[in-house]
């Protein structure tokens, strides 16, 4: 079974993240860039499926040169090879444009199953699986908390607020995963050393047969027009208990929509 995992490098959600005021895109140069946390679950699931079913796991990422670090981490966890689409013209692309690049890259690969995280922690749009599925005309199974592959079908438990839906689709299909699906492994020291020797194929837009005019900030379907920092933390609310402290406390929580 050929499995492709879509991996994105994002600014670490645990550190300060900024937009670049020059073009309102994510400021990657000054950020502590890491592999998107949710993608680690997708990688782990791909490795588990591969170990059960056989085959290969390919990591696919679209991003600048620095995204190599995310690829290396995925390879050191155990993925077999990687494709890195890197082209300056892609900078500032919207989700719709990026999905076109990913779909074009997938069309040059053999795949039975595409896995990805249910969302990226930078933009949090959660639309990529649907966009890619539409472009490739394959089914998408979104928000999996469990995945099984058998008889040419992918079956998932789609996580919901109240429980789950059992959903299935014929392969090839794209499956997005939540962080409830598994516990990602750490890279091992052996894996780190082995990752150096695993093939990473670099592709440009031209290699994918795409025109630079189909991507980039100037041609994006949506743009960030303006942004502002989080307002400074205001003064706290002081409540004087005049025998009604409990009620005031509950009222406060209710006003904050906490209860």
């Amino acid at each position: 079974m050929n499995i492709v995992v879509l991996v994105k490098q994002v600014p670490d959600s645990g550190s300060e993240r900024k937009l670049d005021p020059a073009d309102n895109t994510v400021a990657r140069a000054s950020a502590d860039n890491v592999i998107n946390e949710m993608d680690e679950y997708a990688i782990e699931e791909a490795l588990l499926v591969r170990d059960r079913e056989g085959g290969e796991v390919t990591v696919l990422t679209v991003g600048p040169d620095s995204a190599t670090d995310a690829i290396r981490k995925a390879l050191s966890m155990g993925a077999d090879k990687a494709v890195h689409v890197v082209d300056d013209a892609i900078h500032g692309s919207c989700a719709v444009q990026t999905s076109g690049v990913i779909a074009a890259a997938l069309q040059q690969l053999e795949y039975d199953l595409v896995l990805c995280g249910a969302e990226a922690t930078d933009a949090q749009l959660s639309v990529m699986p649907a966009l890619v599925a539409e472009r490739l005309n394959i089914p998408q199974l979104s928000g999996a908390r469990k995945l099984t592959v058998e008889g040419g079908m992918a079956k998932i438990e789609r996580q919901t607020d109240g429980g789950y839906w059992a959903v299935e689709a014929p392969l090839p299909a794209i499956v997005s995963t939540w962080d409830t699906i598994n516990e990602p492994r750490y890279p091992s020291f052996k894996g780190i050393m082995a990752a150096k020797k695993k093939p990473v194929e670099t592709k440009t837009l031209a290699d994918l047969g795409l025109d630079a005019g189909s991507v980039g900030l100037a041609n994006a379907t949506s743009k960030v027009l303006d942004f502002a920092g989080r307002p400074p933390k205001g003064e706290g609310v002081k409540v004087v208990d005049e025998g009604d402290g409990a009620q005031k406390f509950v009222d406060f929580l209710a006003s904050q929509k906490i209860v």
Partner: protein, 596 residues
């Protein structure tokens, strides 16, 4: 948020901007490595230390191991963390490929392991001891012993110990009484008691490999009659499976001030609780030759002492980082110039005296880290430098620096934790904040693996006079080579002060050894150790300052400011100590115990 365990930024600075560890990848042993693999394994260490070691540091402190029905019970988080550590291949990382290792340079290996010590020194003691045990066997054990014991250790299936001390003999190993009687089959039977044995018993692994110092009857007296034995908890069958229970049993656990997650044991050997082969006596296997046990043990101890020094540094380091974070968020008081009592209180880091404490701690812990990694770099040089002359030079300098690398951080790391408590004020004295634990944990380091007193005798009594004083001369040359590089820079004044201190150290050493009475020479050896340590760390602060070049980030400016601090506030301390030494002061020597 940046980690409060250690500063990755500082490690990267020391490893790459100063020590240039990437250049090691040109050497045959390290060709498989690159900056990429160094970064990845440091990332891995930070992640596992953060996820699996730091979270149970306090839990382990509050729930000491207990002895129940002759066995040790401890919190399950310890085993889980060590399983993750081993599964990631970190036990074997620095070892040879043929033993499952990755041949990571020792310098990077020290930085990697520093994450675990800083996150949870109690849990990290088990692999620390096991790696030291394995190194010793690789250096001095037979191939059969290596295959039987080292491989399972590096796979994390068995852990190791170092059993030197006895209830009546710790620093003075000449007085140990554990006996090893030769048997017809070439094995030995050991009887005796060993005290303070960390990791001496537990259920973490299938087997425990004790390395035990004992005397063979009829051998030479004193340290020249000490031999080294492998005494496994379970005997090992020819196929590697576990056999009979050996006659080594847990007699009790010590209840300590810190390091509470590490079992610390009294072990009885050969009391007949178990009777392997039908008779009492712990079965032991001689390592190397008879009566050379202490030499073998000290081969390991030298590396262990650098590791202890790094441990003392990083416990101070994490204390400093916690204090810094606290000082930046805790508001109290107003600047001296603020007149309006209604104005908002400021973060306490705004107060000069709090900054004094933080800068002091920063200069100690970053100075200590530089010392530890420099010595680790010397280990790499000693083992892999291209020509014999460079290897010999590294060996000599490392030998000279080892007592300082162990003792200086063990003295000043706890002071950094003391300052971290002080920055926290009353809160730091409570168990609601972690700094009091760091202090308690760190208080062991001036004691174990050779006390401060032992280190001072090693430095003044052996190291500065060995090979006709060539170790001391080499240290002086190395330092003055660095001060020469400072000519024409803003650090020329610092370099001149260091040069003066180097010259003073040479003169004082000559005076001490010219006294004609070793009792006088060695009476104030601790003062000598302190002065030498501060001088060495001043040099390493100069090295760091020079390595910052013209970089002007806050990080680099902080480095330079800490260097200035050490120059102006700390280096001058050496002269008071040299004054005292130069006068051949007899105050301590001439104090009879009845006056105390």
């Amino acid at each position: 948020m940046p980690s409060l365990i250690l500063s990755r930024r500082d490690l990267d600075f020391l490893l790459h901007e100063w020590l240039d560890v990437e250049s090691l990848t040109k050497r045959p042993r390290f060709t498989e490595h690159s900056r990429e693999t160094f970064d990845a394994v440091l990332d891995l260490a930070e992640q596992i230390a953060t996820d699996h070691f730091a979270p149970h540091n306090r839990t382990a402190d509050l729930n000491e191991p207990r002895m129940v029905d002759g066995k040790v019970e401890m919190i399950p988080e310890v085993k889980k963390a060590l399983t993750v550590f081993t599964d990631a291949g970190l036990m074997a990382g620095s070892f040879d490929e043929e033993y499952g290792g990755m041949q990571l340079p020792h310098t990077v290996g020290q930085a990697v392991f520093a994450w675990f010590k800083a996150a949870n020194v109690g849990t990290s003691a088990y692999p620390f001891l096991t790696m030291g045990n394995a190194r010793l066997l690789l250096a001095h054990g037979s191939q059969e012993q290596i295959d039987t014991y080292v491989r399972p250790e590096l796979e994390g299936r068995w852990f190791g110990t170092m059993a030197l001390s006895e209830p009546q003999a710790g620093s003075s190993l000449a007085d140990i009484t554990t006996r090893a009687v030769p048997q017809d089959d070439g094995t030995y039977r050991l009887t005796g008691n060993k005290m303070w044995i960390s990791g001496g018993d537990h259920e973490l692994t299938e087997n425990i490999v004790h390395l035990v110092l004992a005397k063979i009857p009829g051998g030479p007296p004193g340290v020249k009659g000490i031999s080294l034995f492998i005494v496994p908890k379970f005997l090992v069958n020819d196929d590697g499976s576990l056999g009979e229970r050996n006659d080594v049993v847990l007699a009790g656990l010590n209840h300590k001030m810190g390091y509470r997650g590490t079992t610390n044991t009294l072990l009885n050997f050969g009391e007949g609780v178990h009777t392997p082969g039908g008779q009492a006596g712990a079965v032991g296997y001689l390592v190397g030759e008879q009566h050379r046990g202490l030499t073998y043990m000290f081969h390991m101890m030298n590396e262990a002492r650098i590791g202890v020094g790094v441990g003392a540094t990083v416990l101070g380091y994490t204390g400093y980082l916690h204090a810094l974070e606290y000082a930046r968020t805790r508001t109290q008081g107003r600047p001296a110039a603020a007149k309006d009592p209604a104005s908002k209180p400021v973060p306490i880091v705004e107060h000069a005296d709090v900054r004094r404490m933080l800068l002091t701690a920063k200069s100690y812990v970053e100075g200590g880290m530089a010392l530890g990694l420099y010595c680790a770099r010397l280990v790499d040089e000693e083992q892999t430098a291209e020509n014999e002359a460079d290897r010999a030079r590294a060996h000599l300098l490392l030998d000279m620096l080892t007592p300082i690398a162990k003792a200086w951080p063990s003295q000043w790391g706890p002071v950094a934790d003391d300052l971290a408590i002080q920055v926290h004020g009353g809160y730091g004295y409570t168990r609601d904040y972690p700094v009091e634990q760091f202090y308690r944990d760190n208080r062991l380091n001036p004691i174990h693996e050779g006390t401060q007193g032992i280190q001072s005798l090693d430095l003044l009594g052996r190291k500065v006079v060995m090979q006709g004083g060539s170790g001391l001369a080499l240290l002086g040359e190395t330092i003055t080579a660095a001060t020469a590089r400072a000519a024409g820079t803003e650090w020329a004044g610092f370099a001149a002060d260091i040069d003066a201190a180097v010259a003073r150290m040479g003169a004082v050493t000559a005076t001490l050894w010219g006294a004609g009475d070793p009792a006088v020479t060695l009476a104030n050896s601790h003062v000598y150790l302190e002065a030498a340590g501060h001088l060495v760390v001043a040099w390493l602060w100069l090295e760091q300052a020079l390595a910052t070049g013209t970089a002007d980030s806050d990080f680099h400016q902080g480095k330079r400011q800490a260097a200035r601090f050490f120059w102006r506030w700390e280096l001058p301390r050496v002269h008071h100590r040299f004054d005292l030494l130069e006068s051949l002061d007899r105050t301590v020597l001439d104090t009879p115990d009845r006056w105390l």
